[in-house]
C-alpha cells in the first residue's frame, strides 16, 4: 500500500526538488549541544526545515530526536548552539518565540485532553474572543466554525463538540494536526505519528502531510519505520547516540543505507519461524468462549501450543486489545474459561493474572505501562516484588541488593540506554521506556506473556532483538501472544495468526497460509 503511495507522490513532487535548496529556511539549528545532568543527549547537531519539504529525523531509541525537537518547540534550552527562525538568531527558543514563528509540535505522547471537546482542545490556551460593549467574551461561534473548517480540511468526521475522550488514538492524532493547521503553523513537527496507526490510517495521514507540504509548510517527520521514511521524506537527517551523522536527500538513500548509518551495522530482516515445524499437541494455554461483559469481544476460543507464537491481527478496535485485557483480568468476562499449563485459571484482576504467571505488555505505555515518578530500577522490580509477595502483594520488604541485580540484568538484556538505573523513567526516550516495561515483565518470570504492540516506538535494531527474544521465550516453553497492527511484524514472527473483525474471530492462518492480503481480507469482511 505504501508502495502505491510512493509512486503517486513522486510523480507529483519531482518538479519541486531543485527549487527547495534555494529557498530560505523556516527554521535552522546550528551546532546544537544539549546536556542533561549525567548525559550528553546531543552534540554538534545541525538541522533546518525548508518550506514545502518533509524532513525526516532518523536515529535509534535515545539518539536524541525528541530532545532536538523539544528545543524547536521551546520546551528545552540548548546548552550550546544557535537557533534561527526567519533569518533571526536566538540563543534559545522560548515557547513564545516558537509559537510566533509558526512552529507546532505533535509530541510522541499525545497531549489531547480527554475531558474537553475537540474544539476546546484546539483552542486551549488561545481562546478566540470578541468585544461586546467593551468586554472581551469567548467567541464560541467563530471557534466552532473554524474547528469545523479545519476538521473538514484534514478529513476528520467528528463534530467540534465531541469529547476528546471518545476519540480513538488515530483520531486524537488528527486533532493534534488540526491544532497545528488551525493556527496556520509553518513548521509542523510530528514525533512518531504513525507508531499507533494502521496501514490505512497511515495512508490517510500521508495524504494530509502531502497537502500541507503543497501549501508550503515544512514538515518534520520522526519514525522508526523505514518504508514510511522512504515514502514520505524529501531529506533525512541521521543522528546516532546524539552525534550528527549528516543530512541527505532521500533520493540518494535506500533502507539498508539508512540502517547502516543509524545503527552502524547491518540488520537482516529474517523470518524467525519455521513454517514446516510440527508443534504436536502440547497445549500450554487455552481460551474457551471468552465474551466480555461489555461485548467488545465475543465467543473467542483459541489454543497455544508449546513453542508457538500466536499473533492477533485486525483493525484497531476489532477487539484484540480488549480480549487481552479480559485474559489479564483487567476487564470482566461474561463467559469464558482459561487453562494455563493444565491448570484452570480463575482470574479476577491483574494481580491474579500476575500470580498465575501471565504478563501483559500494554499498548498504551504512558497510561498503563509504568509508574511515572519511579526510577528505572523501581519500575523494573515492580512485577517481581508483587508476584513474590503474599496477601495481595502487600507483604515483604524492599531488597536493595535484589533490586540492583534485577535492574542490571534487565538493563543488559533489554539494552536500556540510560546513565544509571536510578534515573526517573520519564527521563528516558520513548523507546527506552518501552524496553523498561518489557524488562519489568521478564523479571517476573511469566509462563504466558502477552505483547500488545510490543515494538511501538522501537528502533529497527532493537526490534529484531525483541523478535529474537520472543522466539527464545517460545523455545523455552513460555507462551507468547502478540497483538500487532504491523503486518510484517506478525508475518515474520508468528507461527499462527488469528484475525479479528468486529469483536469476533474471523479467520486463522498458519505462517504458510498467511499473507498481507489474506489478513486484510479477513479483517475487513
Amino acid at each position: 500500500m505504501l508502495g502505491l503511495f510512493l509512486k503517486k507522490r513522486n510523480a507529483l513532487t519531482s518538479g519541486q526538488k531543485e527549487k527547495m535548496v534555494h529557498m530560505n529556511s523556516l527554521v535552522e539549528m546550528r551546532n546544537i549541544t544539549k546536556k542533561f545532568p549525567g548525559v550528553t543527549a546531543l552534540s554538534g547537531v545541525n538541522f533546518d526545515v525548508q518550506p514545502g519539504e518533509v524532513h525526516v529525523l532518523l536515529g535509534e531509541n535515545g539518539a536524541g530526536k525528541s530532545t532536538l525537537m523539544k528545543m524547536l518547540s521551546g520546551a528545552y534550552e540548548p546548552t550550546e548552539g544557535t537557533m534561527v527562525a526567519n533569518g533571526k538568531e536566538f540563543p534559545r527558543f522560548t515557547p513564545r518565540i516558537s509559537q510566533e514563528n509558526g512552529i507546532s509540535i505533535i509530541y510522541q505522547e499525545l497531549s489531547v485532553i480527554d475531558e474537553i471537546s475537540i474544539q476546546e482542545n484546539i483552542f486551549v490556551g488561545k481562546l478566540l474572543t470578541k468585544k461586546v460593549a467593551g468586554i472581551s467574551l469567548v467567541d464560541n461561534a467563530t471557534m466552532k466554525q473554524r474547528t469545523q473548517e479545519v476538521l473538514d480540511e484534514i478529513g476528520l468526521k467528528r463534530s467540534p463538540g465531541t469529547r476528546a475522550g471518545q476519540l480513538s488514538i488515530p483520531e486524537k492524532q488528527m486533532v493534534e494536526i488540526a491544532k497545528a493547521v488551525a493556527f496556520d503553523a509553518k513548521v509542523i513537527i510530528m514525533d512518531e505519528p504513525t507508531s499507533s496507526l494502521t496501514t490505512e490510517e497511515i495512508n490517510h495521514l500521508f495524504e494530509i502531510v502531502d497537502r500541507l507540504k503543497k501549501q508550503g509548510k515544512g514538515i518534520v517527520f520522526i519514525s522508526h519505520k523505514l518504508d514510511e521514511v522512504m515514502a514520505i521524506g524529501d531529506r533525512v537527517t541521521v543522528l546516532k547516540d546524539g552525534q550528527y551523522i549528516g543530512t541527505y536527500p532521500i533520493s540518494e538513500m535506500n533502507e539498508d543505507k539508512l540502517v547502516t548509518m543509524m545503527v552502524g551495522r547491518e540488520i537482516k530482516g529474517t523470518y524467525l519461524q519455521d513454517p514446516n515445524r510440527d508443534y504436536g499437541d502440547d497445549i500450554i494455554f487455552e481460551a474457551k468462549d471468552i465474551t466480555r461483559k461489555d461485548n467488545r469481544c465475543r465467543n473467542i476460543s483459541f489454543q497455544l501450543k508449546r513453542g508457538e507464537i500466536l499473533g492477533f491481527s485486525g483493525l484497531v478496535g476489532a477487539g484484540r486489545t480488549e480480549l487481552m485485557e479480559a485474559i489479564f483480568g483487567a476487564a470482566p468476562m461474561k463467559t469464558g474459561e482459561m487453562t494455563l499449563l493444565g491448570e484452570k485459571l480463575n482470574i479476577k484482576c491483574p494481580y491474579d493474572a500476575l500470580k498465575a504467571g501471565i504478563a501483559l505488555v500494554t499498548e498504551n505505555r504512558r497510561v498503563t505501562g509504568f509508574s511515572p515518578f519511579f526510577s528505572i530500577k523501581q519500575n523494573l522490580i515492580q512485577a517481581k516484588y508483587l508476584k513474590e509477595s503474599k496477601f495481595g502483594g502487600m507483604t515483604g520488604l524492599i531488597n536493595k541488593k535484589m533490586e540492583q541485580e534485577v535492574a542490571e540484568e534487565q538493563r543488559a538484556a533489554m539494552q536500556i540506554k540510560c546513565a544509571t538505573t536510578n534515573q526517573t523513567i520519564t527521563e528516558l526516550s520513548g523507546g527506552n521506556q518501552q524496553k523498561v516495561i518489557l524488562g519489568k515483565w521478564m523479571a517476573s518470570d511469566p509462563k504466558l506473556i502477552i505483547f500488545d504492540e510490543p515494538t511501538k516506538g522501537i528502533d529497527v535494531g532493537t526490534k529484531s532483538e525483541i523478535y529474537k527474544l520472543m522466539r527464545a521465550l517460545a523455545e523455552r516453553g513460555i507462551g507468547v501472544l502478540v497483538v500487532s497492527s504491523e503486518m510484517p511484524e506478525l508475518l515474520s514472527t508468528c507461527d499462527r495468526i488469528v484475525v479479528f473483525s468486529d469483536g469476533k474471530k474471523n479467520g486463522e492462518f498458519t505462517s504458510l497460509e498467511a499473507t498481507e492480503e489474506a489478513l486484510v481480507r479477513a479483517a475487513t469482511t
Binding site: K35, F36, P37, G38, V39, T40, A41, S43, G62, Y76, E77, D241, G242, Q243, F328, A330, C349, P350, Y351, A353, L354, K355, L360, T362, V367, T368, G369, F370, S371, P372, F373, F374, Q378, Q382, A383, Y385, L386, K387, S389, G392, G393, M394, T395, G396, L397, I398, K417, A419, T420, K440
Partner: protein
C-alpha cells in the same frame, strides 16, 4: 561505546538543594523571624517544649493525612476521628476499663475501623475521597456529640494522663515521643516495605499500578486505615493533655494537617512526598501558631497570618523546586 553512557558528574543546582531541604529551610526561617520579633518570649526552653508538645497533635494528624494525599486524594475526616476516638477512649475508661485496654480498643482498633469505613466507602462507591470524607467528617462529629451528650467526658485515669500527657525523664514531652515513634514506623513503612512502595505507585498513576498487578483497593483501604489510626492517636494525646474528652476537639485541625503535608513537599496530585518532611511541616505549623501567639496577635489576625504563611511556604517551594531545566 557512546557519549550517552559516559557519566558526566551531575552538578547540583540550587533547585536540587532546595527540593531536598526546602522544608527545613522554611522551619529555620520561621524560627529566625519569630526570634527576631519577640526574642524574650519566643526564645526559651520552656516555650520550645511547649511548641513541640503542641505540634505533636498536628504531626500525628499530618502523618495520617499524608496517606490520603499520597493517593492523590485527601482525608477530611481526621479532625472528627480525633474527637470521636477521644470520647470513645474516655468512655471506656469511665466504664472501668484499664487504660491499656481502653487505648488498644478505643484508640488503635477503633481508629482502624473508622479508617476502614472511609476506605471501604471510597472503594465501593468509586467517589473521590474528598466527597466521602467530607461526609464522614460530619457523620463522625455527629456521633461524637451523641456519644458524649455534647458534654466533655471526664473520668480519665490519672495514671494514663500522667503517662501520655507527661514528660519522659521529666524533660521530653511524651506526646512528641509518641508522634515521633509513629513517624518512624511510617518512615520505615514507606521506604522499606513493598506495600509502601506500591502505595507510591498507586498514587503516581492508578491505572498503570493496576495493570502492574497492584491490588489497588486493598492498598487504598490500608492508607485510610493508617490515617484513621493516626488521627485516633492524636485523639489519645489530646485527652491526656486536657484531662477530658471534648466533643468539639480538633475542629478545623484537618486544615493544619493538610497544610503540614503540603508544606512538607508532598504533591497534591499524589505519588510524591516523604514522611519525615511532613513531620517538619507539622513543626512549622506549630511554630507559626506559637509564634503568632507570642507576638501577641489576636486570634483573628492569627488566622489570616497562618493562611498567608501557608501560601507563601508552598509558593516558595514551587517557585524554586519547579525551575529545573527551563
Amino acid at each position: 561505546m557512546s557519549k550517552q553512557t559516559q557519566t558526566v558528574k551531575p552538578k547540583k543546582t540550587f533547585s536540587d538543594y532546595w527540593s531536598s531541604y526546602s522544608t527545613v529551610a522554611i522551619l529555620v526561617l520561621m524560627l529566625i523571624v519569630f526570634s527576631a520579633l519577640k526574642p524574650s518570649a519566643f526564645l526559651s526552653t520552656n516555650n520550645f517544649v511547649k511548641i513541640i508538645e503542641q505540634s505533636s497533635i498536628t504531626i500525628l494528624l499530618a502523618c495520617g493525612e499524608f496517606f490520603g494525599i499520597i493517593l492523590g486524594g485527601i482525608d477530611l475526616s481526621v479532625s472528627s476521628t480525633m474527637a470521636l476516638s477521644g470520647v470513645v477512649c474516655a468512655k471506656l475508661m469511665l466504664a472501668g476499663w484499664p487504660p491499656v485496654l481502653a487505648v488498644l480498643v478505643g484508640i488503635i482498633l477503633f481508629g482502624a475501623v473508622v479508617g476502614a469505613i472511609n476506605g471501604s466507602l471510597i472503594n465501593l462507591t468509586n467517589l473521590p475521597p474528598f466527597i466521602i470524607t467530607l461526609g464522614t467528617q460530619a457523620i463522625f462529629r455527629g456521633f461524637t456529640y451523641i456519644l458524649s451528650d455534647a458534654r466533655s467526658v471526664s473520668g480519665i485515669s490519672t495514671g494514663f494522663m500522667q503517662f501520655v500527657g507527661g514528660k519522659l525523664g521529666g524533660v521530653v514531652p511524651m506526646p512528641i515521643v509518641i508522634a515521633l515513634i509513629v513517624a518512624l514506623i511510617l518512615i520505615f513503612f514507606t521506604t522499606k516495605t513493598r506495600a509502601g512502595r506500591n502505595i507510591y505507585a498507586l498514587g503516581g498513576n492508578p491505572s498503570s499500578a493496576y495493570y502492574a498487578g497492584i491490588t489497588t483497593k486493598r492498598h487504598q483501604l490500608l492508607c485510610f486505615v493508617i490515617s484513621g489510626v493516626c488521627a485516633s492517636l492524636a485523639g489519645m494525646v489530646n485527652i491526656a493533655r486536657l484531662g477530658s474528652a471534648e466533643p468539639n476537639a480538633g475542629t478545623g485541625y484537618e486544615t493544619y494537617a493538610i497544610a503540614s503535608v503540603i508544606i512538607g513537599g508532598a504533591s497534591f496530585f499524589g505519588g510524591q512526598g516523604v514522611v519525615w518532611k511532613v513531620v517538619i511541616g507539622g513543626l512549622i505549623i506549630g511554630v507559626i501558631n506559637n509564634g503568632l501567639n507570642m507576638v501577641g496577635l489576636s486570634s483573628y489576625y492569627q488566622q489570616i497570618a497562618m493562611g498567608a504563611l501557608i501560601i507563601l511556604a508552598v509558593t516558595l517551594d514551587r517557585f524554586f523546586g519547579a525551575s529545573k531545566d527551563k
